[in-house]
Symmetry: C2
Subunit: 282 residues, 2 copies
């Protein structure tokens, strides 16, 4: 029997990242929880896990700049992407009915994303907790009969708790994009992909038209952009770091020429990874 | 005596947004706390305040997409910007010495930004709270002698509490950029500014080179970019929304020509505001 792949992620077991792991690698893998994002990268760099999954941007909260920093510093290549809908559920210990719930625990960001639910149910007292899935774990450990937690459905499954109510979130268009990372040496598994994506980070001096010239390297070759974002470099007010995703495989002839051309114009250029584009299952 | 200006912001009194208000408008204004961002915009639109101050991006956490949505939906023009360094302090009730502190309250995001402090001081138990400044308010209301809170120094000043320790944050390069908004009809105060900035939101169809052509309208006129960010439009996978800041006043001749040209190429174009560029005091 083949050894189960170990996959690092940030958070408690039952976090949304674990859903991303299953979407990317199926159910036959072992999720390895880490307390902080830098620990995820360190664990992967030390060879203690086979892969890692990290959130990179959210439709409401923007890019996770910390993880872009780690991608640049640790040099772990991106080999996959997926998107998870952040849908909040009300979870309690088995046998606890909704009418017995007095207090609702969760991370404040999750509590804030369920405003309408709390307006419609003013009988619930809100209590902040460190982590969404962690609040379900706490209820189960303490066998709380007077409280519930807000977390993803996967947290109920993970801890054997019960879902009392689904879709508590105010905004259904709350999605997080995740990256799958492997160690630099790992041989990629052969993939059948209709479309590939490549993620870059590059710096250019902030002269008028600098980004325009950089984008010419792609536009003149009819390569489509999928993302672009500027980030001012602190302490270097006239230099900008750009994150850019384009459609194409990094070792295609056309991509190779564009990357060579971009390297001529940019002060620095890092290919963060090339991977099959995520496609929504229908 | 002139009436004091009332300025809406999200959070409790003593929040970092209040520091942004003082940087933008001085100390002779009345900060009006609101529980949610949409309430800030509604309060301004209803004429209940003279201005509003909102966070728009953070060097670690990226853009606050929710506020970009409100800027587009409410049409309140940006008339100023500033940047606040997010520096965390340990705050307790007057007379409480550091050795009596057992529990430290704060918002989990703030607690997570002070990892080194908690590693160096393992005697403190961390407790999550809804709001950084709100945790200082709670300590003072309950006259807690066994606890402290992590918040900005302005929260200690606001509630008459005492700072026990400064600069708890792991990363000194933690800055938040804020926008000052006024009602659409308000006459701007005459401003002496060396440099102006203009913020736009526009959509283009996601064809290869679409953004390249849009940026040509600025680059061909030697106009510098200060920010660019793409945001996929949910439900419209082939259309992108871009946020763009350029250096220049919107009603300059050169800016007017660039904006006219961009309007030809974009499917939609909104000028979110034109305002003096923020400059760090030395």
């Amino acid at each position: 029997m083949p050894k189960r792949k170990r996959v690092a992620f940030q958070g408690e077991l039952g976090a949304f990242s674990q859903l991303a792991i299953h979407q990317l690698l199926g159910d036959q893998v072992e999720p390895v929880p880490c307390q902080w994002f830098d620990i995820v990268f360190r664990t992967l760099a030390a060879g203690e896990v086979d892969a890692a999954v990290i959130p990179i941007e959210n439709t409401l909260h923007g890019s996770v700049h910390e993880n872009y920093d780690h991608l640049l510093n640790f040099g772990m290549p991106i080999v996959g992407e997926t998107q998870v809908r952040i849908s909040h559920t009300l979870i309690a210990c088995p046998g606890v009915p909704l009418r017995d719930v007095k207090t609702v625990y969760s991370h404040p960001v999750a509590l804030n994303q369920c405003m309408k639910f709390f307006r419609d149910n003013p009988q619930f007292e809100r209590a902040t907790f460190y982590d969404t899935a962690g609040s379900v774990k706490m209820l189960m450990n303490e066998n709380r009969r007077d409280a519930a937690a807000i977390a993803g459905a996967i947290a109920a499954e993970t801890y054997g708790a019960k879902i009392l109510k689904r879709n508590l979130e105010d905004d259904r268009a709350n999605f997080t994009r995740f990256f799958l990372l492997t160690p630099p040496g790992a041989r990629p598994e052969p993939t059948q992909a209709k479309q590939w994506k490549t993620s870059l980070a590059f710096t250019v001096r902030n002269s008028p038209g600098a980004l325009f010239r950089a984008l010419a390297t792609l536009a003149l070759r009819d390569i489509s952009l999928a993302k672009i974002e500027s980030r001012p470099l602190r302490g270097k007010p006239f230099e900008y770091l750009f994150y850019l995703d384009f459609l194409g495989k990094a070792d295609d002839d056309r991509s190779q020429k564009a990357l060579g051309h971009l390297a001529e114009l940019a002060d620095s250029l890092h290919v963060l990874g090339t991977y099959p584009q995520w496609e929504q299952k229908r």
